[in-house]
């Protein structure tokens, strides 16, 4: 399994053609206390850069974007009931979606951990 990162501060933990997707610790800290999460439905398909969810903190609203073309196979609806999870464990329990990747070649456009660290430094 390899973890990829996006410029929109999302992480994508890839296992073959499936992946788990969430927002990074850096993003969660920048947002501040998350008070609202809205997720898209399981079974929906999206193109790269489509909006796939909303995260709102006490300070601001922020959209979640598809890092590549994907289909949502599972959504972490616990986040909608308990948005604060996003601050507590953004890169673990507070994942947003399990997805099926339409074209794994699109992964090449994403950052690895070292590149993301440099991006946020």
């Amino acid at each position: 399994m390899t973890v990829y990162y996006t410029e929109e501060h999302e992480w994508l933990d890839v296992d073959g053609e499936t992946a788990t997707l969430g927002i990074t610790k850096h993003a969660a800290e920048a947002l501040g206390e998350v008070v609202f999460v809205e997720l898209q439905d399981v079974g929906e398909t999206f193109d790269k850069d489509d909006e796939i969810g909303v995260v709102e903190s006490v300070k601001a609203a922020s959209e979640l974007y598809a890092p590549l073309a994907l289909e949502i196979t599972e959504s972490n609806t616990a986040l909608e009931d308990e948005p604060a999870m996003v601050n507590e464990d953004p890169e673990g329990n507070a994942w947003f979606y399990k997805v099926k990747i339409a074209d794994v070649a699109e992964l090449e456009g994403l950052m690895d951990e070292a590149a993301y660290k440099a991006h946020t430094a």
Partner: protein
């Protein structure tokens, strides 16, 4: 734009972990390490300290100062007793609001506190009067919350005798300070003008108290929103009238009827006929916050207004909004929709505030 200014407490904010942002040309803490929600709750449950030194503090002196001030504002100033403060606003010739402010009667002078973003405009406006207008360089801190009296009384016992909207000058921490029992959080509390050379030492002494924590602009905004208090530039501005903004209570009867202030024609007409729109509280039914700019629709999908302030209310425990709607939709309980990210979400009009004000009257 010139460099943002720093208040005398800038270094202390940084030392306390304040996340500094440019607000109205001033570097101010939006929150500290505790975060907006924790600072908000600290204020509602115990007490919080805010630096509001960016606000403009002005003394006005001269012949018939109170009568002259009444030519700019629709509130009674001539009948304001010595030692009392009053909320009012400068109106423009069209009956809109140029800024809101607090005016206190200091005896032979008036003391005014105006918004940071409007201080240059307001000071020029007051200088149009035949008065001596002195901009004070004192710092201003606010200590707000149910524990505020206990905390401030340790240094200034006289505050126990002050009631809501009363003001006095007292010796505190080895210097003279003006202390007023008022604020912008909906809680009991004080705003204290402190000479610049003394403010850091006195603020540090206050913060030694176990029930007092610093709070930033983020909590200040969510506190005032829950309390249904207007933010100039958001909920009131040069287009909105005091009648539309439900601020009729701030215009005493003699002034409402007698006129003699800018924009009296529109304001008296709206008082007689009712305004075409009103500022209301809007409670979203779901969890999605409806922020400034979100449109309000009736149940048939017609746009009837817009949110002017909105966010999450930590004490209320849910999203809270204020905004203008057409007058016929302004009754509490009226169902409406909020158009958030293109989707209509149910909400209802409520009577402000979201969280009851807790003043010591």
């Amino acid at each position: 734009m010139s460099e943002p200014r720093k208040t005398p407490l800038y270094d202390l904010h940084v030392e306390l972990g304040g996340k500094m942002v440019d607000f109205a040309g001033w570097m101010m803490p939006v929150n500290y390490g505790a975060g907006v929600a924790a600072e908000h709750k600290q204020c509602r449950e115990k007490a919080a300290l805010f630096d509001v030194s960016h606000m403009g503090q002005v003394e006005l002196r001269g012949r018939r100062v109170k009568q002259q001030m009444e030519t700019l504002v629709p509130s009674s100033i001539t009948t304001l007793p010595i030692g009392k403060a009053r909320y009012t606003f400068f109106t423009n010739p069209q009956g809109g609001i140029m800024d809101d402010l607090i005016v206190s009667n200091g005896g032979d002078y008036l003391f005014a506190v105006v918004n940071a973003s409007m201080r240059d405009q307001d000071i020029a406006h007051m200088r149009s009067l035949d008065l001596e207008v002195t901009e004070m360089d004192d710092a201003l801190i606010a200590i707000q919350g149910p524990m505020a009296e206990t905390i401030v009384a340790e240094y200034a016992p006289v505050v126990k005798t002050l009631k809501f909207m009363e003001t006095t000058i007292t010796s505190m921490g080895g210097t003279l300070c003006r202390i007023s029992r008022l604020g912008y959080t909906g809680e009991d509390g004080f705003e204290i003008s402190i000479p610049v050379d003394h403010v850091e030492r006195i603020t540090r002494a206050f913060l030694q108290h176990p029930d007092l924590e610093p709070a930033g602009l983020g909590a200040r905004d969510s506190l005032r929103l829950e309390a249904g208090l207007c933010l100039y530039g958001n909920d009131i501005d040069n287009d909105t009238s005091p009648v539309e903004a439900n601020l009729v209570w701030a215009m005493q009867k003699a002034r409402r009827e007698g006129g003699g202030f800018p924009g009296a024609e529109r304001i008296q007409r709206e008082l007689a006929q009712g305004p075409s729109r009103r500022l209301v509280g809007i409670k979203p039914e779901g969890r999605a916050p409806a922020r400034r700019g979100v449109e309000v629709a009736d149940k048939d999908g017609n746009i009837i207004g817009a949110v002017t302030s909105g966010g999450f209310g930590p004490t209320y425990g849910g999203p809270v909004s204020m905004g203008y709607v057409a007058a016929e939709f302004s009754d509490p309980g009226t169902p409406v929709d909020l158009i958030i990210r293109g989707k209509a979400r149910p909400a209802s009009i409520i009577k402000l505030p979201f969280v009851a004000q807790n003043y010591k009257r």
